[in-house]
C-alpha cells in the first residue's frame, strides 16, 4: 500500500518521492530493530547494574560495587555449579560430536533406509528437554528402569543409581542431553559429508588408501567448518542448559547437579537473592560472549 503511493509520488515529484522511497526500508526496520536492540543490550546493561546493586528480595538500586561477585565466588554452591558445567559441557560436547559423527559416517554408506533413519534420528530434537527429562527420569529410576531390567535378566549385582547418587547424577544429565542432540549433530555432519567432492575420494582410493585412512586423513579434515559450527551450537546449548536439569534432577540431590542456569534461577526467583542471581547471569553472559563474539567477528569479516 505504501509502495503504490510511494511510486506514484516518485513519478510526479521526484526529489520528495525519491527521498521517501529511500527512507522506507529504514523506517520499516526501525521498530523491530529498536525493540531487539533494547531487549538485548538494554536489558544486558540493566542486569549488569543489578549485579552491582544491593538487591535481595526486591530490586534495590543502591550501588555496592563488586560485592555480589565476591559473594558469588565465595559460595560453595556456585563452584559446584561451575564444576558441573565443566563436566557436563565437556562430556556433552565430546560425546555428542563423537556419536553424531559416527552416526553420520554410518548413514553415509549409501544404505537403503537412509532417508527414514535420518528423519527418525532427528525426532528427539522435536522434543522439549522437559519431555526428555521426564522420560529419562523413569528409565533411570533405580526401582523401575534399567536397574530393574538388568536384575530381571539375571544380573542381580547390577546397580545403576546414578540419578539419586550425588556424585553420579550429573552424568545422567549428560546421557539425556547427548540422546537429545546426537541426531541433530549427525544431520549437520551428514550435510557436510555430502558436500565433499567425490573425486578427491576416488583419487585417494586409486592411490590405495584404506577406508579408515581416507576418513581420518581426508574426510575429517574437510569437515572442519562443520566441527566448528557444531561446537558453537553445542557449547552454547550447554551453557544455557536449564530445562533438562530442572526436569531430570531439579538440581538435586541437594544441589549436586546445579549448573549456572539453575543457580541463577534459584537465587533470583526463589531465594530472594536478585543481586546474586544477576551476578551469575552476567558471568554466564561473559562466558558465552567469550566464545561467540570472536566467532561472529570472523564470520562477518570472512564474508566480505
Amino acid at each position: 500500500m505504501t509502495a503504490g503511493a510511494g511510486t506514484a509520488v516518485a513519478r510526479s515529484a521526484e526529489p520528495f518521492g525519491a527521498r521517501l522511497a529511500r527512507w522506507v526500508p529504514k523506517l520499516v526496520l526501525a521498530p523491530s530493530f529498536v525493540l531487539a536492540f533494547l531487549f538485548i543490550y538494554g536489558l544486558m546493561a540493566w542486569n549488569g547494574y543489578l549485579s552491582l546493586s544491593a538487591s535481595r528480595l526486591l530490586p534495590n538500586y543502591e550501588f555496592v560495587g563488586i560485592e555480589q561477585y565476591q559473594r558469588l565466588f565465595e559460595s560453595e554452591r556456585w563452584w559446584v555449579a561451575l564444576t558441573n558445567l565443566g563436566i557436563f559441557g565437556g562430556l556433552f560436547i565430546g560425546c555428542g560430536m563423537t556419536i553424531g559423527l559416527l552416526l553420520a559416517i554410518l548413514l553415509d554408506q549409501k544404505i537403503r533406509v537412509e532417508g527414514v533413519l535420518r528423519t527418525i534420528y532427528l525426532y528427539p530434537m522435536a522434543l522439549s528437554f522437559i519431555v526428555t527429562g521426564t522420560a529419562w527420569k523413569w528409565i533411570l529410576n533405580p526401582g523401575l528402569g534399567l536397574e530393574k531390567l538388568a536384575h530381571e535378566w539375571g544380573f542381580a549385582g547390577f546397580s545403576f543409581d546414578w540419578l539419586i547418587n550425588p556424585d553420579r547424577a550429573i552424568y545422567t544429565i549428560v546421557i539425556a542431553g547427548v540422546w537429545q542432540s546426537a541426531g541433530f549433530v549427525m544431520a549437520l555432519f551428514l550435510a557436510g559429508l555430502r558436500g565433499i567432492d567425490d573425486s578427491i575420494l576416488k583419487a585417494a582410493q586409486i592411490d590405495g588408501a584404506s577406508l579408515p585412512r581416507i576418513y581420518w586423513r581426508i574426510i575429517i579434515p574437510c569437515l572442519r567448518p562443520v566441527f566448528f559450527s557444531t561446537l558453537m551450537v553445542l557449547s552454547h546449548l550447554a551453557i544455557k542448559s536449564f530445562d533438562l536439569v530442572m526436569a531430570l534432577t531439579a538440581g538435586g540431590p541437594g544441589f549436586a547437579t546445579d549448573v549456572p542456569a539453575t543457580f541463577m534461577y534459584t537465587m533470583a526467583f526463589s531465594r530472594g537473592q536478585i543481586g546474586l542471581g544477576a551476578a551469575s547471569a552476567t558471568i554466564m553472559l561473559a562466558t558465552v560472549a567469550a566464545i561467540v563474539v570472536p566467532y561472529l567477528y570472523s564470520e562477518l569479516r570472512g564474508r566480505r
Partner: protein
C-alpha cells in the same frame, strides 16, 4: 500401574489402555490442582500461534531489508542483532519481569507472546537474511527499474520465492516456543502456564504412588504437536537448516 511395577522397561503392556491418557489430559494433579494438562496445553496453543506468526513476519521483512536494501550501518545493525541468537537468556529474566509488570502484562499469555516475539527476532532475521542473500540482486534491480517500490518487490517477487525458508523458520520458531520452559516458568502466572511447565509440575507432584503411566502419557501429549510437525515436514526442515548451518 501394577504392570509398571511388576514388569520391566521393555515388557509390553499386557492390557493396553488409554485411561492414563485421559487422566493426563483432564484429571492428573499438578500441585494442588487436578485439572490435568488440558489448561496448560491450551495456554501453549494460544501463546505459540501469535508468537510464531509475528516473529516470522518481522524476520522476513528484516531479512529482506538487511539483504536487499542495505544502507550505511545496516551490516553493523545486523551483527548486533546476531548476538541475540546466542545470548544466554538468563540475562534478560530479571529486568524483563519488571518491564512486563510495568506494562501490566506480567503473568499473562500476552507477556509471554511479547517475550517470545522479541527473543525470536534475531534468529528469524538471520534465517531470512541468509536466504535472501542467495537471491540474485538483479531481480530486485530489474523490478526497481520497472517502478516497483519496496513493498511491491517484497510482495510480488521476494515472498513467492521464500517458501523453503518460511517453512524452516515456522518450524524452528514453533518448536522453540512450544518447548520453551525458562520463560514459561519465570514469566507466567497461575492461569497462563504453558504445557512444559504443566508437565514438569505434574511429573514432580508426589503422590503416594508415583503414576508413571500418567506421567508418560502427559509427556507424550506435550510432545505430540512438535512431533507431528517433524513427522509431516521434518524433511524440508532438515534440508533447509543444515544447508544454512554448513554454509554459514
Amino acid at each position: 500401574m501394577a504392570q509398571i511395577r511388576d514388569g520391566n522397561l521393555l515388557s509390553l503392556p499386557t492390557a493396553p489402555t488409554l485411561a492414563a491418557w485421559g487422566a493426563a489430559w483432564s484429571s492428573a494433579c499438578t500441585g494442588v490442582d487436578c485439572g490435568g494438562l488440558k489448561p496448560f496445553f491450551l495456554n501453549s496453543v494460544l501463546m505459540v500461534i501469535p508468537a510464531v506468526l509475528v516473529s516470522t513476519v518481522l524476520g522476513a521483512v528484516n531479512g529482506y531489508i538487511f539483504s536487499k536494501w542495505r544502507f550505511r550501518g545496516s551490516e553493523t545493525m545486523f551483527a548486533m542483532m546476531l548476538f541475540g541468537v546466542f545470548m544466554p537468556m538468563q540475562v534478560v529474566l530479571l529486568p524483563m519481569s519488571q518491564i512486563l509488570g510495568w506494562l501490566g502484562i506480567a503473568n499473562s499469555i500476552w507477556g509471554l507472546v511479547l517475550v517470545h516475539v522479541i527473543a525470536g527476532l534475531p534468529s528469524t532475521t538471520l534465517f531470512f537474511r541468509n536466504y535472501y542473500v542467495g537471491l540474485p540482486d538483479e531481480l530486485v534491480k530489474a523490478a526497481m527499474l520497472d517502478g516497483a517500490g519496496f513493498w511491491r518487490i517484497f510482495w510480488r517477487i521476494v515472498l513467492p520465492l521464500s517458501t523453503p525458508i518460511t517453512v524452516v523458520t515456522l518450524i524452528w520458531q514453533f518448536t522453540n516456543i512450544w518447548n520453551d520452559f525458562l520463560y514459561g516458568i519465570v514469566f507466567s502466572g497461575a492461569a497462563s502456564k504453558p504445557v512444559t511447565v504443566g508437565l514438569n509440575n505434574l511429573a514432580n507432584t508426589s503422590s503416594v504412588v508415583k503414576e508413571y503411566n500418567v506421567d508418560m502419557a502427559a509427556a507424550m501429549i506435550a510432545a505430540l504437536p512438535t512431533l507431528i510437525v517433524y513427522i509431516v515436514a521434518g524433511k524440508y526442515f532438515v534440508r533447509g537448516l543444515t544447508a544454512g548451518a554448513v554454509k554459514g
